[in-house]
């Protein structure tokens, strides 16, 4: 090396390559191990496979941010009517620490004012506010035994999205993108859609933050790509003024040619990645507008998703977009809907919220089903925790509120090899504690990975001297009964 530097002769290709190698792997042995991760996706996939065929290939995660009340949606407790305004027995709460909002207050039981009926062959209980979901009851696996460790929104949401309450871990979609890789050439693997508005009022609305779809210690190419709710769906997608497609194409041809020449000189594979990504960017300039343009959807499909589908940024529109993404083999789609934090006057807000999600969720299931895409697409709906059986704020038969409740909450899974038409897990008479088949958030993650053919204990990434895994400690169990 010093020879070639001192006598000023140009370095040979071999020397250049060696030099490049030493530079990029300058960390010694540790980096050499990390180097084994270069073909990351295939590596992770083979190392973490369950050995069983994957039942699902793609995921749609519907996140109800703010935490909907399980008591008013799926966890039917008819006997609570007789407990109206009676104190919650201490034998049930077992001295559980509650939030500062209801600390030291009386815990008076607030039964749900809504009617429940059994639906489908499985006879699953669904609240009257969800008439469309009730019609697809045989595709739903309702879980009433979710539980979490967090009692406040920020750690709760971070836990559901990343498997840890402490910020900094990789999100679900990032892990799955890392573990399974891409199935298409023109779109990102992990897309995040935020619903720009909701009907249930704007009280107590928490922000969403990019860590919920972040990549943590994983390479950042796995982080979720958040589509904007107005303007360009992807930032900086459109050519700026004064540049049209021909000019862009002509320019990229030279960029590519010069980059290729550069690659021949130094042999750094990252240059090839640059070329590929610039071409991907060019393709996205046409593939993303094509994806988000729903003008070609027939009227009966739009009707299926309900009246809100015409509004850009609505939950309904996002569900329709999710179906279009699934058709184009996007691996992981996460849709956020906010406004579920009903501490007080819950009945004023619940119907609007349910209106927002009921028909679109049912439509998504039906629409995927009629395209034979439901079998290998896993749909999950959940909040970050549940709500208390006791009231916060004014308590009347038809007016009440509920505080945060981590010990049990409800949601559903559909498609992706999940058994439909069933209810999984049981809570006690007050919908306070889980009494059968508990599904902690980590168990949910493990179950989702299981459906995707990944063994959650073997999907790891070396960071901070440890093999970071998706779901750490506590030995989560995938619920194979689902």
């Amino acid at each position: 090396m010093t020879d070639s530097m001192s006598n000023n002769r140009p370095m040979t290709d071999w020397e250049l390559a060696r030099r490049q190698f030493l530079k990029t792997s300058g960390m010694g042995l540790g980096a050499a191990v990390a180097g084994a991760l270069l073909p990351q996706n295939s590596h992770a996939r083979t190392a973490a496979a369950t050995g069983q065929p994957a039942k699902a290939k793609r995921v749609i995660f519907l996140f109800m941010a703010g935490a909907p009340s399980q008591l008013d949606l799926f966890d039917y407790k008819p006997d609570l009517v007789n407990q109206f305004r009676k104190p919650l027995p201490p034998s049930v709460s077992m001295g559980q620490r509650v939030t500062a909002m209801t600390k030291g207050r009386e815990q008076l039981v607030a039964p749900s004012k809504y009617k429940f009926e059994q639906h489908g062959k499985g006879g699953i209980w669904v609240c009257e506010l969800l008439p469309h979901l009730a019609k697809v009851a045989d595709d739903l696996c309702i879980v009433n035994s979710f539980s979490t460790n967090a009692i406040n929104h920020d750690p709760g949401k971070t836990f559901v999205c990343t498997g840890a309450e402490v910020p900094g871990r990789a999100s679900m979609g990032a892990w799955i993108s890392y573990g399974l890789g891409s199935m298409n050439q023109d779109l990102p693997e992990f897309i995040v859609l935020n619903s720009a508005f909701w009907t249930g009022g704007t009280r107590n609305v928490q922000a969403l933050y990019s860590r919920l779809w972040g990549s943590g210690p994983l390479p950042s190419k796995h982080q979720g790509v958040k589509f904007q709710t107005s303007g360009d769906p992807v930032l900086f997608l459109s050519n700026p003024k004064g540049i049209d497609e021909r000019i862009r194409r002509r320019m990229l041809d030279t960029v590519g040619a010069v980059n290729r020449q550069h690659f021949q000189q130094i042999g750094d594979p990252e240059v090839e990645t640059t070329i590929a990504q610039q071409e991907m960017a060019f393709r996205m300039q046409s593939s993303v507008p094509e994806l988000t343009d729903v003008s070609g959807e027939p009227q009966h499909i739009l009707d299926l998703y309900g009246p809100e589908v015409t509004k850009v940024g609505s939950f309904a529109r996002n569900c329709l977009l999710a179906r279009r993404m699934i058709e184009r083999d996007v691996r992981f789609i996460q849709i956020f809907h906010r406004g579920w934090d009903h501490h007080t006057i819950l009945p004023q807000q619940m119907p609007g919220q349910c209106f927002d999600i009921d028909q679109p969720c049912a439509a998504l299931i039906l629409d995927l089903k009629q395209r034979d895409l439901l079998d290998d697409t896993l749909i999950v709906l959940t909040g970050e925790f549940g709500r208390t059986t006791f009231c916060q704020g004014t308590l009347e038969r038809d007016n009440y509120g509920r505080d945060h409740h981590p010990r049990c909450f409800s949601g559903f899974l559909a498609g992706g090899g999940i058994k439909g038409g069933m209810m999984y897990g049981q809570t006690d008479d007050f919908s306070y504690n889980v009494v059968a088949d508990p599904v902690n958030v980590r168990d949910l993650h493990a179950t989702m990975l299981h459906q995707l053919g990944i063994d959650h204990e073997r999907l790891t990434f070396p960071f901070q001297g440890l093999d970071q895994s998706d779901r750490r400690s506590n030995r989560p169990k995938s619920s194979t009964k689902l």
Partner: protein
């Protein structure tokens, strides 16, 4: 570094030290309004003028929603300590460098100053831009490629003078330089800014 290198090499960078942080010009945060209902700032309003050309250390940072042109280039989220930044290479980065308006304005500024210094002969123009941006000298093969690109861009813009006018905006043209030439030189500079050799530290 990529962010600051562009205004620095084009001559747009503000040398001002200290003072108030600035809101980066960004489509992303402005259009996604309604994100925050209670915490500061409720709405992002991009600054204008000199302050958007200040170094990145002066950019306003909200941890829950950091500036997208930083996170796209893999800036740490500031929620955990990072000993070493990952090397990334994404299509979003490519889109940012290709399409973000401020980057393009920087390319235009570079084109204006090089053309103004009398470098309107293609060879000299290409050499000057390439050297300014990459601090390296072009070989003959590379020069030929860029000269050809400049000629092609000139003819494309001559066929669509309205595009050239849009790209030039209200910029004052250097003497004896047509809009079409400035537009072509701007795209030439933008091309160099998008090269791997420019954005990757070797």
């Amino acid at each position: 570094m990529i962010r600051d290198q562009v205004p620095a090499s084009s001559g747009l960078l503000s040398r001002k030290l200290f003072g108030k942080q600035c809101q980066a010009a960004s489509a992303g945060r402005a259009v996604d309004g309604g994100q925050y209902t209670s915490s500061y700032p409720r709405e992002f309003k991009a600054d204008s003028g000199e302050s958007i050309y200040r170094r990145s250390v002066y950019t306003f940072w909200k941890r829950g929603m950091p500036p997208p042109q930083m996170t796209i280039l893999n800036a740490p989220s500031r929620e955990e300590c990072i000993a070493r930044r990952e090397r990334t290479n994404t299509p979003l980065q490519a889109l940012l460098l290709l399409n973000e308006v401020e980057y393009l304005k920087a390319a235009r500024q570079l084109a204006v100053s090089v053309l103004g210094e009398g470098g309107s002969k293609p060879d000299a123009l290409v050499d000057a831009i390439y050297e300014t941006v990459t601090s390296q000298q072009l070989d003959d093969k590379g020069r030929a490629a860029f000269v050809q690109l400049f000629a092609d861009l000139q003819s494309l813009y001559q066929k669509s003078p309205e595009l050239a006018a849009e790209l030039c905006g209200d910029v004052e043209l250097p003497k004896a330089v047509s809009r079409e030439d400035l537009a072509a030189a701007t795209m030439l500079a933008s091309t160099v800014y998008n090269l791997d050799i420019t954005k990757t530290r070797q």
